[in-house]
């Protein structure tokens, strides 16, 4: 092993011997597991009169029921099959008043609509469909139970257009999204995307955990040398200016990416095991309603991992820059924690470009919301969506942080303590 290899190995050791990293990782993963799967882990059930339906059973029925139609077009036959299942089950439950009088189904004039959807393994499909169509429950249920494929698809397009137009005041921005949506082959190819939905929706917590691990691991990357008073020894040694800095930066960035990838893979595999992994090559709209991108679920998953890498590099590099600048872990942690807390808040669209830039907050990416941000950046007449802009900005900030740290480190001095 070369000297640079030994320096890198030692830097890794310095990071990994921090107990707080392992404690945070174990607690964080346990929290994600419980938060994601609590209804199944704790064997929760729905009750319709004397009829008890465990949620785990509803999921199993959903997976079983979708096996026949996974990867098939959502054509007339598809909807006919669904409607037949619903009417057969309704007939079977006609003597169960708890099902028929279910309050969530009555308002639209379809008694038993939700319990029957659950009992037939159609609950995820129904949830996904009705969120994409109509303005009222009446309209939604009628479309789903009686509408033609063309009517349902027109309703989906219409609802998306309303949302896009609401978010994008300029016509060319709305056109940008609708042209992408229109390029998706119709009818849609169906898949049971509940597992992917769980992954996309829980990845917000995933990225927070990843952030905490990076912060704990790297806040001391340069500051600890001052705390442990090893800076004088390092800086007076042959490789104590350039190589050690390169080793620290390389290890810090690798640690950021590896830790984030490990957490993301774990958080991806769990819902795949529980809800199934069908639908990798089907349109992302099976898992993410309101997404206007013409991409498959698989492409969207890969994009979250790509952004996981970019965001982790961004965090890793800025944490190291501040660790170098402050020579103390407390302000590094305080600044990043404050930034992360602030990122929970959104700025109103009326603030224009400021709110658009604010929407590029890193924690927002690697999360389902990143696929449903409709506002565009107009740069010299070229429309750029938030994913493209975020990728450029994240890479740029990472490069600036790394170069700045390396440049400043070369001239660092050991003054009085």
């Amino acid at each position: 092993m070369s000297n640079f290899g030994i320096l890198c190995k030692t830097e890794f050791k310095k990071i990994l011997c921090k107990k707080a990293i392992w404690i945070t990782l174990v607690l964080g993963l346990a929290f994600i597991l419980v938060a994601d799967m609590s209804d199944i882990l704790f064997n929760e059930s729905y009750y319709y009169g004397d009829l008890k339906v465990p949620i785990a059973q509803i999921e199993r029925m959903g997976i079983e029921n979708s096996k026949e139609v996974n990867g098939k077009p959502m054509d007339e036959a598809f909807y006919e099959r669904f409607r037949l299942q619903m009417s057969d089950e309704l007939e079977a439950q006609k003597d169960n008043p708890a099902v028929l009088n279910d309050p969530s189904s009555l308002d639209a004039g379809y008694p038993g609509f939700w319990p029957v959807a659950e009992l037939t393994g159609n609950s995820w499909f129904v949830q996904n469909e009705i969120r994409r169509i109509g303005a009222s429950n009446d309209e939604r249920y009628n479309l789903l139970m009686k509408g033609s494929v063309e009517e349902i698809e027109a309703a989906k397009r219409n609802k998306l257009e309303i949302n896009v137009t609401y978010d994008c005041p300029k016509e060319d921005e709305a056109d940008y999204w609708m042209s992408r949506y229109d390029s998706i082959p119709k009818p849609y190819i169906y898949s049971y995307g509940h597992g992917y939905y769980k992954y996309f929706s829980s990845s917000f917590v995933t990225i927070w955990l990843s952030f905490l691990i990076i912060l704990i691991g790297l806040a001391g990357s340069f500051a600890d040398e001052n705390t442990f008073r090893t800076d004088a020894l390092i800086l007076s040694s042959r490789y104590g200016r350039k190589r050690i800095c390169r080793a620290k930066l390389l290890v810090g960035l690798c640690f950021s990416v590896i830790s984030t990838m490990v957490i993301m893979i774990i958080c991806f595999v769990i819902p795949m095991l529980v809800y199934g992994a069908e639908g990798w090559n089907t349109p992302v709209q099976n898992a993410l309603i309101g997404c206007a991108f013409n991409m498959t679920i698989g492409q969207a998953v890969i994009l979250t991992f790509v952004f996981g890498i970019l965001v982790s590099l961004l965090w890793g590099s800025t944490v190291m820059l501040l660790s170098f600048g402050f020579k103390n872990i407390v302000p590094v942690m305080a600044i990043h924690a404050a930034a992360l807390m602030l990122s929970v808040f959104n700025l109103p669209d009326s603030m224009g470009i400021i709110s658009q830039i604010w929407a590029l907050k890193p924690a927002y990416f690697v999360y389902q919301g990143m696929f449903m941000e409709y506002r565009l950046f107009n740069i010299a007449g070229l429309l750029i969506n938030n994913l493209q802009m975020a990728a450029v900005v994240f890479i740029l900030v990472t490069v600036i942080s790394v170069v700045a740290t390396a440049r400043f480190y070369r001239n660092v001095q050991v003054a009085s303590r």
Partner: protein
């Protein structure tokens, strides 16, 4: 082999820590004496290239001390010797060896020899946080001489050592001084008295004495205390 310091100054805000020092050093042990705040540590940091002077230059065999090749010839034990508590003594030395550019196999052999020399071979695989103050100091001395330095800067190297260890390290430093420039800063006058070929007395950022033990012409401790007394008298008048 020559270390040349030319009109070296360091100023912190309104305080002049080192005031236009000029000096030429050749191989041998140089004892640097002075009260707290005299500027000894600042001077040594500047010689090590870890603190930039406000003015003046320091060169070693014509090389500026900011160059990588100078650091290759340098061994340094700072006054506040730092370490990684979770590292073992051997891991720490191997890390320092990698920082000093020593090849892996050579580093392993050198570490084993040095750990034995400083009497830490039995504790080589124990974490440094379990070491006593004296053991840590011995580890610090070992890391300073890992690369067979041509210029060795030792800031209070015998602090925390028991009398027997101090004598051992005095002899080791004297041995190193045969082939290298050793600058030894200490408050323990007897250490300087025993091994220094040249004595520098520092006060208010300047050398107030530069000579050999023979030039002192009296007991070194007494000579040193005279300067302190002058200091104290001066402070009283102020």
């Amino acid at each position: 082999m020559e270390l040349v310091i030319d009109r070296l100054s360091k100023q912190y805000n309104n305080k002049i820590a080192v005031d236009r020092l000029s000096l030429k050093l050749k191989s041998g042990v140089v004892g640097l004496l002075g009260a707290n705040g005299a500027g000894k540590t600042t001077l040594m940091r500047m010689i090590c290239g870890i603190l930039k002077p406000t003015g003046g230059t320091i060169t070693f065999n014509g090389m500026d001390v900011s160059e990588e090749m100078f650091r290759d010839a340098l061994g340094y034990l700072p006054q506040d010797f730092g370490y990684y508590p979770n590292f073992t003594g051997k891991e720490f030395l191997l890390y320092m060896a990698a920082l000093k550019g020593i090849e892996r196999n050579a580093a392993r052999k050198k570490c084993d020899v040095l750990l034995k020399t400083v009497g830490l071979d039995h504790a080589a695989n124990k974490k440094i946080k379990t070491y006593s103050g004296g053991m840590k100091q011995r580890l610090g001395i070992a890391q300073a001489v890992l690369n067979d330095p041509k210029i060795l800067i030792l800031d209070e190297p015998t602090a925390g050592l028991d009398p027997k260890e101090r004598v051992r390290f005095r002899n080791l430093i004297a041995e190193l001084g045969k082939d290298a420039i050793v600058i030894l800063s200490t408050h323990i006058v007897s250490d300087v008295e025993h091994i220094a070929d040249r004595i520098l007395l520092m006060k208010d950022g300047q050398f107030v004495f530069d000579g050999t033990l023979d030039d002192v012409g009296m007991d070194l401790e007494e000579f040193y205390m005279q300067h302190f007394e002058e200091d104290e008298e001066g402070e009283q008048y102020e």
